[in-house]
């Protein structure tokens, strides 16, 4: 009752009703936000049964220059160019993720189409660089290492064009 008086006398003071509604709304907001965060967290699996990022190809003596090997499980092309150097590029189209296909393995220069995507017609050269859209960027390049006679491709290690070659 006395609070009623002070309220009506002092306009700057927060009224009890307003105070309670701020507390109530903040509490509701906090709980809603918390529930949302917890749910999103719940929806992100902590253990995923996906294959390990590295795989082995080889032995290298069996891979001739100017040929490639397609690794379907990892969707990766392991290529040996005319100079005998190896590199690995992804077969996952950078547009919307279809499998690209090597359409001509006899290509010797970088300006012609070696790889194409069946979904929306993107075209790439033998190094995976875009020749024609809609793909926004080149195919991913993975680090490739030599271990004894085998090649180890690490699909979690994405490298630049300069770093992609393995010279043997």
């Amino acid at each position: 009752m006395c609070s009623y008086k002070t309220e009506s006398n002092n306009e700057n003071k927060i009224k009890r009703r307003k105070f309670l509604s701020i507390v109530g709304n903040s509490a509701t907001g906090l709980v809603t936000f918390g529930a949302l965060a917890v749910t999103i967290d719940f929806l992100s699996p902590n253990v995923i049964k996906e294959r390990p990022p590295k795989f082995k190809v080889g032995p290298i003596q069996n891979i001739q220059p100017d040929t490639f090997i397609y690794e379907p499980e990892y969707r990766v092309f392991v290529v040996r160019d005319g100079n005998g150097a190896f590199y690995a590029i992804s077969a996952i189209c950078t547009h919307l993720g279809c499998n690209v296909k090597w359409i001509d393995s006899n290509i010797r220069n970088d300006s012609s189409v070696a790889i194409a995507c069946p979904c929306h017609g993107s075209k790439f050269n033998r190094k995976g660089e875009v020749i024609e859209g809609p793909a926004p960027k080149g195919l991913q390049r993975f680090r490739i290492k030599l271990s004894d006679d085998d090649l180890i491709v690490d699909t979690s290690d994405i490298v630049s064009e300069e770093e992609m070659y393995l010279k043997v």
Binding site: I40, L43, S44, P45, I48, K49, E50, H95, L96, G97, C98, C119
Partner: protein, 229 residues
């Protein structure tokens, strides 16, 4: 006819003679309730709505019935899902018929909802006070498309796999939250067991539930906005 049981189910007393009786029939029926007690003749003519909204609703009912039956032979797991679909086609009695019913009703529903929207547009029926029901309608259209999309993965064949790969990669282009949203939809980095279960739950539980609630709201609003325009 006029037993106690009958009267407890159907409130309107027969015979129907007066205008009051006629309006009570509408008033007391859930299904006819979509119209106000009195309607203009123009608004209930076939050539006005082509019954497209009701056709959409009817197709949705067919989808629920056939969908629930399909669930009895379907497991959302790899490789079971694909095998179940083949069994439905070649082993289960009338399974092929059921599967085709579900698929065709889904295609037709997308078409009929779309035509319904066009009808509403050309009749100018989206104008006040019906603007909000237009918004509800847009959400219903999106839900219809999402149901088709999530259902598409369930047979888990090549078509499913690549269509959903492409679709989910579209999400990736959303700024900032794209990567995370894609991860949540897939339950991983690429389509796998978790993805199949997620799409299954969306397709069979979450989306139909939201759809039913929104359709109910859509119908209630038609009535509250004064019946058909």
């Amino acid at each position: 006819m006029h037993s106690k049981v009958w009267d407890s189910i159907f409130r309107s007393k027969l015979p129907i003679n007066t205008n009051l009786d006629r309006s009570l029939v509408i008033f007391n029926s859930l299904t006819l309730h979509i119209h106000p007690v009195k309607v203009r003749e123009k608004a209930i003519k076939f050539s006005y709505t082509f019954y497209l909204g009701m056709i959409s609703f009817f197709l949705f009912i067919i989808l629920i019935v056939t969908g629930v039956l399909l669930m009895l032979y379907y497991q959302p797991a790899i490789p079971n899902a694909y095998e179940n679909m083949k069994d439905l086609q070649y082993v289960v009695s009338n399974g092929m018929f059921l599967r085709n019913l579900h698929r065709w009703a889904a295609h037709l529903m997308v078409i009929s909802v779309f035509l319904h929207m066009i009808r509403v547009f050309y009749a100018g029926a989206y104008k006040p006070p019906r603007e909000f029901n237009w918004v509800v309608g847009v959400v219903l259209l999106v839900l219809t498309l999402l149901l088709s999309y999530t259902g598409y993965l369930l047979p888990f064949d090549q078509l499913s796999y690549w269509a959903v790969t492409v679709g989910v990669n579209l999400i990736q282009y959303i700024p900032v939250i794209g990567e995370k949203t894609k991860f949540l939809f897939l339950g991983g980095h690429e389509i796998g067991e978790y993805t199949l279960v997620r799409f299954y739950v969306l397709h069979c539980v979450i989306l139909p539930l939201v759809m039913v609630l929104l359709i109910a709201f859509h119908f209630w609003r038609i009535r509250k906005d004064g019946g058909l325009h």
